[in-house]
């Protein structure tokens, strides 16, 4: 089973056209293997992106270098998956 250890989901809210453009360009950076849960759609609208562990520091550095603020929406994706799995196992199945 593919694990999501060390992966995070970042939330970026572009506040200028320049920031929006930069965030849109992230979608083209295939080597980062970013998974856009909410794609860029406009100023003030959140962009949620799941980031594989090896891409985490490069992406954060890229955002910070461009002055784009972000927050960590999901600190540990695997922890949520584990919690979901344990909930399913706890569910009585007859």
């Amino acid at each position: 089973f593919e694990t999501f250890v060390g992966q995070q989901v970042l939330r970026i809210i572009p506040t200028s056209d320049e920031e929006l453009q930069k965030v849109q360009e992230l979608q083209e950076l295939e080597h980062l293997e970013l998974d856009f849960w909410l794609s860029p759609r406009g100023l003030g609208s959140p962009v949620d992106v799941r980031v594989p562990f090896p891409s985490l520091q490069p992406l954060k550095a890229h955002l910070e270098a461009n002055g784009i603020s972000y927050s960590v929406m999901i600190e540990d994706v695997q922890a949520l998956v584990d919690e979901e799995q344990s909930q399913m196992l706890r569910t009585p199945r007859g």
């Binding site: 999501f4 799941r50 999901i74 994706v77 399913m88």
Partner: protein, 310 residues
């Protein structure tokens, strides 16, 4: 596995087999209302089942609802299960629903992308696409919401098989999509079509591929406004509504643009909860509230379609 749909746990996530078992139980318990139709097979040869809720008649006007076309959006399949049970519970007691079923049939496809759904349980919880393979690429799957014959392959979808929005090699290349296309065309009397996704709390109508307003834009906007008002009335969940292209972004080859261009006026796509901290890992305790509030909006759309048959 539960022996009746009354003991089924609607506030938990379930596997493909469990949901298929649920469907069989529901059909067995409600033989005069519910039947199960196989409309095709997936890439990996899984059956594509649709539940038909009907009080008789032949080829009556119909409402189509699908959930789970993006496999990782688990709250949608779980909501589909809840909707199915809700219809059987309310079909006589709920005046609005009873009136809909007096004139119309309801078709509900709960697991629209079974290969992807099975993959989310066995390999990758966050898998979104189908599981079709493409020559010349190591990447697997097509976005089944970019694979329809509505401005297929134009801007608003990706030509890269590794992208989450890969449109596929040609329109209807995915058997999961083709099966619905064939069903809708052969039925010929679908009047409302609602395709359900998550997450970002939106109710959207055509178009996604062009910013030219749909000819019925005003009616669709008013109807979607009423639907989200009904939804919000239960728990105060905030929804936006509007056309796909003006509310989110350009999306070519998407489901409801195709259905609208086929003449299904009441074509909508939902984005269910949540915008919060969980994304596609919505806690199971939120399944039932999500389904409950969504059902109120679905009823508004169904009742409007019934009152405005065309």
């Amino acid at each position: 596995l539960p022996v009746t749909t009354s003991t089924f746990d609607y506030s938990a996530y379930h596997t493909l087999d469990e949901i298929y078992t649920f469907m069989d139980l529901l059909v067995a318990e409600n033989p005069d209302l519910v039947s199960k139709i196989e409309i095709g097979r997936s890439t990996e040869n899984r059956p594509l089942y649709v539940l038909k809720f009907s009080k008789g008649g032949t080829n009556r006007p119909a409402v189509w609802i699908d959930t789970g076309i993006h496999s990782r959006e688990w709250v949608t399949q779980a909501s589909g299960v809840w909707f199915a049970k809700k219809i059987t519970l309310d079909h006589e007691n709920d005046e609005g629903l009873a009136a809909v079923l007096e004139q119309m049939d309801i078709f509900l496809e709960i697991i629209t992308n079974p290969d992807g759904f099975a993959f989310t349980h066995s390999q990758n919880r966050l898998w979104r696409k189908t599981r079709s393979k493409h020559s010349g690429s190591l990447c697997v799957g097509v976005d089944p919401n970019r694979n329809w014959d509505a401005a297929f392959g134009e801007p608003g979808a990706s030509g890269n098989p590794c992208s989450q929005t890969y449109h596929g090699p040609y329109a209807n290349s995915e058997p999961e999509v083709r099966a619905i296309v064939d069903f809708v065309k052969s039925h010929g009397n679908v009047k409302a079509f609602v395709s359900i996704h998550s997450y970002s709390q939106l109710l959207l109508y055509p178009y996604g591929y062009t910013d030219t307003p749909a000819p019925d834009q005003q009616e669709l906007h008013e109807l979607s406004g009423k639907a989200v008002a009904a939804l919000s009335s239960l728990y105060g969940t905030k929804y936006k509504h509007g056309s796909i292209i003006t509310t989110i972004y350009k999306a070519s080859g998407n489901t409801v643009d195709w259905t609208y261009d086929q003449g299904i006026k009441y074509s909508f796509t939902f984005e269910l909860r949540d915008t919060g901290l969980y994304g596609f890992l919505l806690p199971a305790k939120l399944i039932v509230p999500t389904a409950q509030e969504t059902w109120l909006a679905l009823k508004v759309i169904m009742e409007h379609a019934r009152d405005h048959l065309y």
